[in-house]
């Protein structure tokens, strides 16, 4: 079962596995809406700056996108860590990965939220 994708990885810990599963499901739901809206609802897709800013004026969209960036970044980094753990790295390397991925993850989500608010605020008053 060492190489199984079912259930927690040998070194992953149950909580991280659980978070990965839940965020995976949430990403599927939000990504489905994200793809349909971006490619099919807008007449030619969200292809111009003005289209994107206008799209972000609906308050549900920034909330949804914040969820998407947080869930997608968490899921991808926990998953990447799981892949690295399968290579049987040393504990020192795992510690570095834990710190590095935590910083990258928190940084990416903060950056994503900043970008979302920046875009949403561009349309204010217009």
């Amino acid at each position: 079962m060492n190489n199984s994708i079912y259930g927690p990885k040998s070194n992953e810990g149950g909580w991280l596995w659980f978070i990965k599963a839940i965020t995976g499901l949430l990403v599927i739901v939000i990504l489905f809406i994200h793809l349909i809206v971006n490619h099919f609802v807008a007449p030619n897709g969200l292809l111009t700056y003005a289209d994107v800013v206008k799209y972000y004026q609906n308050p549900i969209i920034p909330i949804m996108e914040i969820g998407l960036v947080a869930f997608a970044v968490s899921h991808s980094l926990i998953g990447l860590r799981g892949i690295i753990l399968d290579l049987k790295p040393t504990q020192a390397f795992i510690n570095i990965i834990n710190w590095l991925f935590s910083i990258v993850g928190v940084g990416a989500v903060i950056y994503g939220i900043w970008l979302i608010f920046t875009i949403a605020s561009r349309g204010a008053g217009s």
Binding site: I5, V27, T48, V69, A72, I83, A108, Y111, T118, I119
Partner: protein, 130 residues
């Protein structure tokens, strides 16, 4: 697995991508890994390039016209394919983890690959004709 523990991390990494003597479940596992790496790369590139939105209309619209080249569109179709394979396979793994559909794993795997291909073709047609 005793053999595997004596191998270097690099040769263990290369072994993931070796499809010989693999069951369909293992191919599902390998595809899940490859799509995971591809989607992670895409996610971070996506976050970086969308910084163009903060730089204003000219920067973003220039980027979009670049992204409309056939190569970019083809790569985006690959992202859709990877997303559907990874997402549907994830649902299968979650269901199997709770004991659902274990007997029909192979059917589920073949079906999800078929769905991923069909959906990708629909997206490709739509993206190349818009």
């Amino acid at each position: 697995m005793t053999e595997a523990t004596n191998q270097s991390p690099v040769s263990r990494a290369v072994k993931w991508f070796d499809p010989r003597d693999r069951s369909i479940n293992t191919i599902g596992f390998i595809l899940n890994r490859i799509t995971a790496l591809g989607l992670t790369l895409y996610l971070f590139l996506h976050l970086i390039v969308l910084h163009q939105l903060a730089d204003g209309p000219a920067a973003y619209n220039n980027f979009i016209s670049l992204a409309h080249s056939p190569i970019f569109t083809f790569l985006e179709v690959l992202v859709v394919t990877a997303g559907f394979i990874h997402g549907l396979n994830g649902v299968r793994i979650a269901l199997n983890s709770f004991g659902v559909g274990i007997r029909s794993q192979k059917l589920l795997l073949v079906s999800l690959f078929a769905i991923a291909i069909i959906v990708s073709l629909v997206f490709a047609f739509h993206m190349f004709t818009v």
